[in-house]
Symmetry: C2
Subunit: 194 residues, 2 copies
Amino acid sequence: MTEEGVNGLSLAEVARRLGVTPPSLYKYFPSLLSVYDALYARAARAHLDVMRAAMDESEPGLRALEAGLMASGHWCIEHRARAQLLFWRPVPSFEPSPDAFAPSVEMMELNRKGLADAVAAGELGPDGATDEAIYLVSIMIAGTLSQAMANEPDLPWGDGRFSPLFPKLMALLPAAYPPDGKPTRRSRRGQSGG
Amino acid sequence: MTEEGVNGLSLAEVARRLGVTPPSLYKYFPSLLSVYDALYARAARAHLDVMRAAMDESEPGLRALEAGLMASGHWCIEHRARAQLLFWRPVPSFEPSPDAFAPSVEMMELNRKGLADAVAAGELGPDGATDEAIYLVSIMIAGTLSQAMANEPDLPWGDGRFSPLFPKLMALLPAAYPPDGKPTRRSRRGQSGG
DNA sequence: GTCTATAGCCTGATAGAC
DNA sequence: GTCTATCAGGCTATAGAC
């Protein structure tokens, strides 16, 4: 998948690299799509574990949320092809089974919890715990990743022009959902007047 | 490309739908990759024209920039497969020729000009005209698009959970590059200062 | 659980008649 | 500028021997 595109996975090539013949694979997987499903399931699980571990190591709230998403970005860049399988839809005929998809649902819950904790800690206003805020955050990480993967496919997370900007984006969240409940844009001069 | 993925384009299928036989296509294109290149060139040109027209109709600065990027988003959602060909890299063996790529360079210049105008108009601080700001904006539009395309592939621009959030993201730019030159909120004196 | 053999499809590309 | 015929190869998947 890394070399030929996610779509380029073929059982024949898998067999070739395993040193077996294609029919042997059918003892383990009933079809090519079932191989994609197994890849999806394992990748989703690995990605979720990495993200949760990073969040658990930081204090709940924006710091944990950012740590989790940074770890997510790191994993995605390190496993580009699998990340594409998870988050883009490069194989139109493939849709993950409910079992394989389960970790993805759990991941959304992690984000939701991170935002809710941030609201509870007073880092964000009450709107910071809405679905809209989740979508906003998902746009930020997805944008950083897609730009990094498309334009700097060989650079690790943390290098290059895009991934270092992610913390800067996260730092804008309090401007979008101000803790004092003031309306969005560049809420008055405040904050700095100490 | 829409039906089978960008990678799924085949000369045989093109010929089939044109009502001719595959060898006939070789009178017009020397190879499959040259077909991709022609598709890329036309799409890049069409996308650039749409974006520039939208920017020309708005007053220079943040309004024009947002109008241009909104038009870009609209075009990308309306022409998903072509947008993927332009902005993701779904066909590893294909790289656009310099001629085909030229409009993409011009597009970056449009963004640069939009930000420079915004700084000149006092909408953003001087940092708003840096390369970093361009990358930040590109992350915003790329994130909105990739989330919309991956999760709501059948909804038009303006509908759904993601594309309506793009203006909200653009509205955060003045918080990232404050016009009065003040450092980004809560970056200097810290959150305890206020 | 591996293999050979094969069916039945697809592809990109070329040669050469008309 | 279209066609027929063809090459040379790819692929998924199955049947059945060992």
